[in-house]
């Protein structure tokens, strides 16, 4: 279910955190569903167990997952809809931030970037979604 790139400069635990959030946002991990144990995910990805444990601890602190001793880690069943919307929101926010960082590093100014965003919005959100909301 998850994939990490250990060679990347991005810490592995951050990659795991992002993938879990993405899986929840996409619904691949459903509310109430159990996550793999630290050991099985470590062996599955061939990654140090402490690295996985660190990712799970951070996810717990952010209330993205819940862990109960002896039972393992779960996607909270609670307010499922809000949770998966929030996960989707977080994942999208991160991707947008990465894209904007790239735009800044290309030396584009704010006005140019705003125009680019407008154009992308017209493409992907052709109908004014605000009216429906």
């Amino acid at each position: 279910m998850f994939r990490v790139d250990p060679r990347s400069g991005v810490p592995i635990y951050l990659q795991v955190i992002e993938q879990v959030k993405r899986a929840i946002a996409l619904g691949t991990l459903a509310p109430g569903e159990q996550l793999p144990t630290v050991k099985s995910l470590a062996l599955g990805l061939t990654v140090n167990p402490n690295t996985i444990a660190r990712a799970y601890r951070d996810l717990e602190r952010e209330h993205v997952i819940e862990t109960s001793p002896g039972r393992g880690s779960f996607v909270p069943a609670g307010n499922a809809q809000t949770d998966s919307r929030r996960a989707a929101h977080d994942a999208a926010e991160k991707e947008l931030a990465d894209a904007l960082r790239a735009a800044r590093s290309f030396g584009l100014d704010r006005r140019t970037v705003t125009a680019l965003i407008e154009r992308a919005l017209d493409h992907w959100f052709p109908h004014d979604e605000q009216e429906r909301a």
Binding site: P6, R7, G9, I12, L43, T46, N48, N50, T51, S105
Partner: protein
Amino acid sequence: MTALSIKHLTKRYGSFTAVDDLSVDVEPASVCGLLGPNGSGKSTTFKCLLGLARATSGSVTIEGAPLQPGTFDYLAYVPEKSALYEWMTVEQHLEMARRAYRKYDAARARELLATFKLPPKKLVRRLSKGQHTALALVLAFAIRPRVLVLDEPASGLDPIFQRTVLDLIIDAAAGGAGVLFSSHQIGQVERAADRIAVLREGKLVLAGDIDTLKGDEKIVIAAFDALVPEMPELAHDPNVRRIERGGRIVRLYTDGESERIAGRVAALQPRSLDVVDLTLEDIFLGAVGEDGAAPPIGVES
């Protein structure tokens, strides 16, 4: 209790200092990758650890106690060149280990033998280099050690069995073992280890948690329209390791707070600005003073 503790270890051969005041701790359920160029003191460190060489000064403790015969009930060591008997078969080695080690687990040994596809009846003399390594690993893991010391544990193995070795290390750590292993392949360390210790000419030049190092060590790269302006405050910033300037381009190597430093550079109004992640290989090469070519501007690693 710390699984393995090296304190101020120094080893001199005549006037040559092979290991110079080295201190490294390996905690239980943790894997420390020992990295360093050839001749940086890794194997000498292992020899001193295992009592195969006498330290000039400093100390080594395993689970809080100095090395003693009983230590080898729960400590396993795989040397770089395996110490096997050429005239004995694979299964004779297992039998010898069964008699020698109180904690020897015969079922586990058979399982490992099958994993590495080792022929039990074959003479060690007829084994390939990879099979030598595999047999040494089978013997080491068959005692279900709490402390593991592995010198280049995947040398001579094909990529599939290299992965098997990493899985064994990960499995041992998940079960609570403390592992110290050396490797020339940073990719292996990057997967199996959570910490690294980097040696250069016998000295510890870098140690820490791999993900924390990756998170902290970045290069802030800025290109200006004209010559790079002076940045005296950044030169003395505690998180700026060094600054490389060349014409219109400046690179700042940071060991933390890269976003804050990027913000300071942005205030100088560069034409472009980027924060590039460093890979463990970059960090390693930087620590041993063998920086490769700096990444081109704007390229995400």
